[in-house]
């Protein structure tokens, strides 16, 4: 049996990758994918704890997260397409109309 800490370390690593990508990438699609990575990192720790404690609540939670993530992907990609059509770029630094 793989010990719980392995899962948690992997989960933390995935989450950190997500954060890093979110912070340093310019391309809006990459950023979007980084967000998914963070969500999935968290999902991993949810199921790991659920298996460890034999509690179903964690797995149920993961389903909710996946549903929200799917909805978010649908809306998010639609927005990205709209942005690309109007501004012809996917670089977030150039989508700055509301900035100071």
């Amino acid at each position: 049996m793989v010990p719980l800490s392995y899962y948690l370390v992997l989960s933390g690593f995935l989450f950190a990758c997500g954060v890093t990508g979110f912070l340093i990438k310019r391309n809006i699609i990459t950023i979007f994918m980084s967000i998914e990575l963070m969500l999935n990192g968290v999902n991993l720790s949810f199921v790991a704890f659920a298996a460890h404690w034999h509690a179903l609540a964690g797995q149920v939670f993961v389903f909710f997260v996946m549903v929200v993530a799917a909805a978010e992907a649908a809306v998010g990609l639609a927005i990205i397409i709209a942005v690309y059509r109007t501004r012809e770029t996917l670089n977030v630094d150039q989508v700055n109309l509301l900035k100071l």
């Binding site: 912070l23 977030v92 100071l100």
Partner: protein, 657 residues
């Protein structure tokens, strides 16, 4: 005998008049305003007379009339209660009587003034406060009246407030009086602290058994001197007399009523009212006597050199008030009150007559530009002549009796001394001299004034409007009648003092101490007559000297003035007292306020604190706003950094455990 005198009517009637004229007067006609002003002050006088008539049959004197309680704090109470005894009765009659006459006079004098209604509202207001002062049964109520007359005086001195000198004279009077009031207030606090009450009867009942503070100063001396400081302010004594000559900027009826006959005597009244305290504090009495004597002499010498007719009278008032304090200071309170009464008659008359003269020559106040007026305005001349004889102390006019009483008491009383008497006699000589100088300069010789082209503020009734004002002309009857009545009082007013009747009337108030004196009096009758002769002689000498200098040899005064040189200059400039005060007190105060309080505290501390706080907030915000760049990734960075910190902290906690 029923004992409800309804005393409250006396002060409240003028207050009602003031309210009606003050609120409605602007839209009313002059006739309506003067009717209201006269009816209410006249009614107060009538009621005071009726009270006086019933006074003898009162079964309890002092009579007290309670209305409402005012302050109740533990054992300390102050009530609205009126107090009537022989002393307040005399003051009541003087204030309402002379006040009413001056109201009548003002109808004529102020007729052409655009603020006619305002004048009568203020005048009635003054009557209300003065009567409150006189009828109070405790120091606090007296203080209300005291401050109220100060307010009325301020309003009336600055009546023509568009004139800069009048406005600042009003301020000066008010501020100088504040200094005196400060002393009065502390005296009141001391009385509360030590006697637990402010009611005259209760305080004096506690003071009565105390022994006189013969060696050194004690509580009563402190209270006495503090009260005297208050009296110095209100009654224009050294060192606080400086406001009174300036107060002559007010209309002449105001000078007559407030700054000669009534308000300025409030200090004398207050000291006499507190005689129980003063009698047990010889040192305070001494202070009163010395201040009074010095003021009498000092102001009289200034009076010699003044050329403004009202300024002469103003310094004369200061000097006569000095006499009253001299009397109080030697323990002869009834003599002081006697002189207060006769002074109210003849000085009120002098001012009103001076107003009539000023009116006759079209607003001119400089006596050098008058002269020869006795043929133009004979009635004014006659009444003013009577008043001058009265103030100079020539028998049988009123001033003779009261002044002589004071001089005799200054010599013979236990607290008196021949020094006071001597200075008093010298002052009497100077008084006689400068008063006859005034009379001769104004009424004898040739008329020096230009033909009067324009009228000053003191104008007359409608009947005159047609004719040109080329020559001095007599005032209308409404102004002359009060002059005649006051002239009559100045002649006979002193007769009540014959055979010490006045003193006996006041005996229930001032009582003790007089009896022993009366015994010794019979023996020294010869001395009294001698002193009386001397004072009459000096009065006549003053008259003759004035005659020589200003009628028969009018070139002499200038010569004498030249030979005296700088001394004459000093007297002419009132000994530079105003300049001295300006240097000593006013300038340091103004400079201190400007440099320290305004430029230092206000600008540097208060303004800068506020401005720097605002500046600091802006600078900090300038820095901090970079955090809210609108850049999503920087937000995310902050969140990541924050959560990293939290996690690190939790790990550290876990490891530490």
């Amino acid at each position: 005998m029923t004992s409800n005198l309804n005393l409250w009517l006396i002060p409240v009637l003028p207050l009602a008049g003031a309210a009606i004229n003050g609120f409605l007067g602007k839209r009313s006609s002059r006739t309506a305003v003067s009717t209201v002003g006269l009816v209410f002050s006249g009614a107060a006088f009538a009621w005071a007379l009726s009270v006086a008539l019933r006074f003898a049959s009162l079964d309890q004197v002092p009579y007290q009339e309670y209305f409402a309680h005012w302050i109740r704090s533990g054992a300390f109470t102050v009530d609205f209660t009126l107090y009537l005894d022989q002393l307040s009765l005399i003051m009541l009659l003087v204030v309402t009587g002379v006040g009413f006459l001056i109201h009548i006079y003002s109808v004529g004098y102020m007729w052409d003034d655009p603020s006619y209604y305002r004048f009568f509202a203020y005048l009635n207001l003054f009557m209300f406060f003065m009567l409150t002062l006189v009828l109070a049964n405790n120091y606090l109520m007296m203080f209300i009246g005291w401050e109220g007359v100060g307010l009325a005086s301020y309003l009336l001195i600055g009546f023509w407030f568009t004139k800069d000198s009048a406005a600042s004279a009003g301020k000066k009077a008010f501020i100088v009086n504040r200094i005196g009031d400060f002393g009065f207030l502390i005296g009141i606090f001391l009385i509360i602290q030590h006697f637990g009450s402010l009611d005259f009867t209760r305080v004096f009942a506690q003071v009565q058994p105390l022994a006189a503070e013969n060696s050194g100063a004690g509580l009563l001396t402190a209270i006495g001197i503090l009260l005297m400081v208050g009296a110095c302010g209100k009654s224009a004594q050294i060192p606080l007399y400086v406001w009174l000559p300036d107060a002559m900027e007010g209309p002449t009826p105001v000078s007559a009523l407030i700054h000669a006959a009534t308000m300025v005597t409030a200090g004398v009244y207050m000291v006499s009212r507190s005689h129980t305290i003063f009698e047990r504090a010889p040192m305070a009495l001494m202070v009163v006597a010395v201040i009074g004597t010095l003021t009498a002499l000092f102001a009289a010498t200034i009076g010699i050199t003044q050329t403004d007719i009202k300024k002469v009278l103003a310094y004369s008032t200061v000097s006569q008030l000095g006499y009253m304090f001299m009397a109080c200071g030697v323990g002869a309170f009834s003599a002081g009150i006697f002189h207060l009464m006769t002074h109210a008659f003849f000085k009120g008359l002098l001012f009103l007559a001076a107003g009539s003269v000023i009116h006759a020559v079209g607003g001119e106040q400089d006596m050098r530009k008058m002269g020869g007026l006795r043929t133009y305005i004979p009635i004014t001349f006659a009444t003013m002549g009577i008043a001058t004889l009265a103030i100079a102390g020539i028998p049988p006019f009123a001033g003779f009796w009261s002044k002589d009483e004071i001089l005799w008491k200054a010599y013979s009383s236990d607290h008196g001394s021949w020094v006071f008497w001597l200075i008093g006699v010298i002052t009497a000589f100077i008084t006689s001299f400068y008063m006859f100088r005034l009379l001769f300069m104004t009424f004898w010789g040739d008329y020096h004034g230009a033909t009067v082209d324009a009228h000053g503020h003191g104008s007359h009734g409608d009947g005159h409007d047609g004719h040109g004002h080329g020559e001095p002309h007599e005032s209308p009857m409404v102004m002359l009648v009060p002059l005649m009545i006051l002239a009559l009082l100045s002649v006979v007013g002193g007769l009540v003092g014959i055979g010490n009747r006045f003193e006996h009337f006041l005996e229930p108030v001032f009582g003790t101490g007089m009896a022993t004196e009366a015994a010794g009096e019979a023996a020294s009758r010869g001395t009294e007559l001698l002193l009386m002769g001397i004072s009459v002689a000096v009065a006549l000498a003053g008259l003759i000297l004035a005659w020589v200098l200003y009628v028969s040899k009018p070139y002499l005064p200038q010569k004498i003035a030249d030979s005296l040189g700088s001394f004459y200059e000093a007297v002419l400039n009132k000994y530079y007292i105003d300049e001295l005060y300006a240097k000593l007190f006013v300038k340091p105060l103004v400079d201190g306020s400007t440099l320290i309080l305004w430029k230092g505290v206000d600008r540097k501390v208060i303004d800068d604190t506020v401005n720097n706080a605002a500046d600091g907030a802006r600078r900090v915000s300038d820095e901090v706003r970079h955090m809210q760049s609108g850049n999503l990734r920087s937000y995310a960075g902050w969140i990541a950094a924050g959560s990293a910190l939290v996690i690190a902290y939790m790990i550290w906690l876990g490891v530490g455990r």
